[in-house]
């Protein structure tokens, strides 16, 4: 997936460079008609490639959305909604892997900081506490992609072990 995004970005960047560079060059130095046509052809090829990449990506997302929904008439009407939700879930999973309630269910008292990171990924904030019986506080904070609702989860450690878990409302 990351490779697709990279390709996507590369193509955008290349198109941008070509499109913005072309008029500048025409001012700075003369461009022959042959060079111009060659560039135009190259841009068209890049745009075609970009369309292919985007179509492949959308197809994959749509396939995933279709697979997750029974195809009744009512459900078909919410196809767009499902696709949107799938995209949002993907974005959330990529940016906030800890916004998955099932992961928090895997936490338990006595776990080490490394084990917590193994389950939830790195915390947003990693800070000691002023509480005398808390050494370290891992704060997981972010906004839900769909609703922009701010959610916060907290894990507290004492002497290298989890002593308190505040599960985020996800």
């Amino acid at each position: 997936m990351k490779t697709k995004y990279n390709t996507h970005l590369f193509l955008f960047a290349l198109c941008g460079a070509v499109l913005t560079g072309a008029p500048t060059m025409s001012v700075a130095e003369a461009v022959t008609q042959g060079e111009f046509l060659a560039l135009q052809q190259r841009v068209e090829q890049l745009e075609a490639s970009l369309r292919t990449v985007k179509n492949t990506q959308v197809e994959a997302i749509a396939t995933e959305a279709f697979a997750s929904m029974p195809m009744t008439q009512k459900d078909k009407s919410s196809l767009i909604e499902n696709v949107v939700q799938t995209i949002q879930a993907r974005e959330e999973s990529a940016n906030y892997p800890w916004m998955d309630a099932s992961k928090w269910a895997n936490l338990s008292k006595g776990m080490s900081p490394e084990e917590v990171v193994g389950v939830l990924d790195q915390p947003t904030l990693n800070e000691p506490s002023m509480h005398k019986r808390v050494d370290l506080v891992y704060t997981y904070q972010g906004r839900r992609v769909a609703t922009a609702k701010k959610v916060t989860g907290i894990v507290r450690f004492y002497k290298g072990k989890v002593i308190e878990i505040e599960v985020p409302d996800v």
Partner: protein, 308 residues
């Protein structure tokens, strides 16, 4: 690697050097900031000869700002801390004392072994240099004196820390002579920490040993510090015992300390209830009774700390 490096850094700053790390605000992937603001008031004894009891004194006690630079995957890291301390501030415009605290560059040769150069805090002491790590307001010496012979000093250290034990050696220079400090710490039994520190400087020689143990909601600690100061007949020799009881966000500290310090015999008893308003905000009160060379003093202190 980063996590282990952070743990190592945490160990070297908290366990070995006896200070308490502060919060971490990521500024970039590699750079973070932390610090705290300490407000304190005291009302109590004037220890000067023939002096009357002082009135309420205090206000801004300290603002500390630190930066930690720890690039992902690099064995090198650096810390720089600035401390702005009030000078018994009671009126606007009084001087602020600015000092560098920990300013270090560290090379982590492995997860256990690290080498550090710079301005490094002494290994000595159960009582931390920063107010954020104390169980009460005052230090165990009378008149809020620190009984340890060293604080921050320029030098180089080698530290080896495992889950069960830690060893540290610091070497500095004073008047063309070497100043050394050695640490041995044992943490192999759960909830128990024992440390022995020996310091040998051209101007003093100190042995400091302390232990702390957690049992349920209680923390117990005991400490003995003796310092032979060059040119002074009587050694400093101070004992300390502390019990802390935690109840929810609150806690109560009882501490006794006594012995000979600065040429005076003393006994000190402190009672200090504290409360954590949040993970960042902590407040406490302290009432201390002191007997110094047959004179009695009573000191009341209130403190509020915000860490970030």
């Amino acid at each position: 690697m980063k996590m282990k490096k952070e743990l190592l850094a945490s160990l070297t700053s908290a366990a070995l050097f006896g200070s308490v790390a502060n919060a971490e605000i990521p500024l970039t992937d590699d750079l973070s900031a932390y610090g705290y603001i300490d407000m304190a008031y005291t009302d109590g004894g004037d220890y000067t000869e023939g002096g009357a009891d002082e009135n309420l004194d205090g206000g801004f006690a300290e603002f500390e700002l630190g930066f930690s630079f720890a690039p992902e995957g690099s064995a090198w890291s650096a810390v720089a801390e600035l401390s702005f301390r009030g000078q018994g501030v009671t009126a606007a415009g009084e001087d602020i004392d600015t000092k560098a605290e920990t300013v270090t560059i560290t090379y982590a040769a492995s997860d256990e072994l690290s080498f550090t150069v710079g301005n490094i805090l002494s290994y000595q002491g159960f009582e931390t240099f920063d107010a954020t790590g104390l169980f009460q307001y005052s230090y165990q010496g009378y008149d809020n004196n620190v009984v340890y012979s060293a604080g921050y000093a320029y030098g180089a250290s080698a530290d080896y820390a495992t889950d069960d034990y830690a060893l540290g050696l610091w070497v500095g220079e004073v008047d063309d002579s070497a100043s050394v400090e050695f640490l041995a710490a044992y943490t192999g039994i759960e909830d128990l920490t024992v440390k022995f520190i020996y310091a040998n400087d051209p101007t003093y020689e100190t042995s400091n040993v302390w232990a702390s143990y957690d049992v349920g909601s209680f923390t117990f600690a005991a400490e003995y510090t003796t310092t032979d100061i060059v040119g002074v007949d009587d050694d400093d020799s101070v004992y300390m015992a502390l019990a802390y009881y935690s109840y929810g966000d609150g806690g109560l500290t009882l501490r006794y300390s006594g012995g000979e310090f600065g040429g005076s015999d003393f006994d000190k008893f402190s009672v200090s209830p504290g409360y954590s308003f949040s993970d960042n905000v902590f407040g406490l009160l302290e009432l201390s009774y002191e007997e110094v060379e047959d004179k009695d003093y009573t000191t009341l202190a209130a403190e509020l700390i915000y860490s970030f």
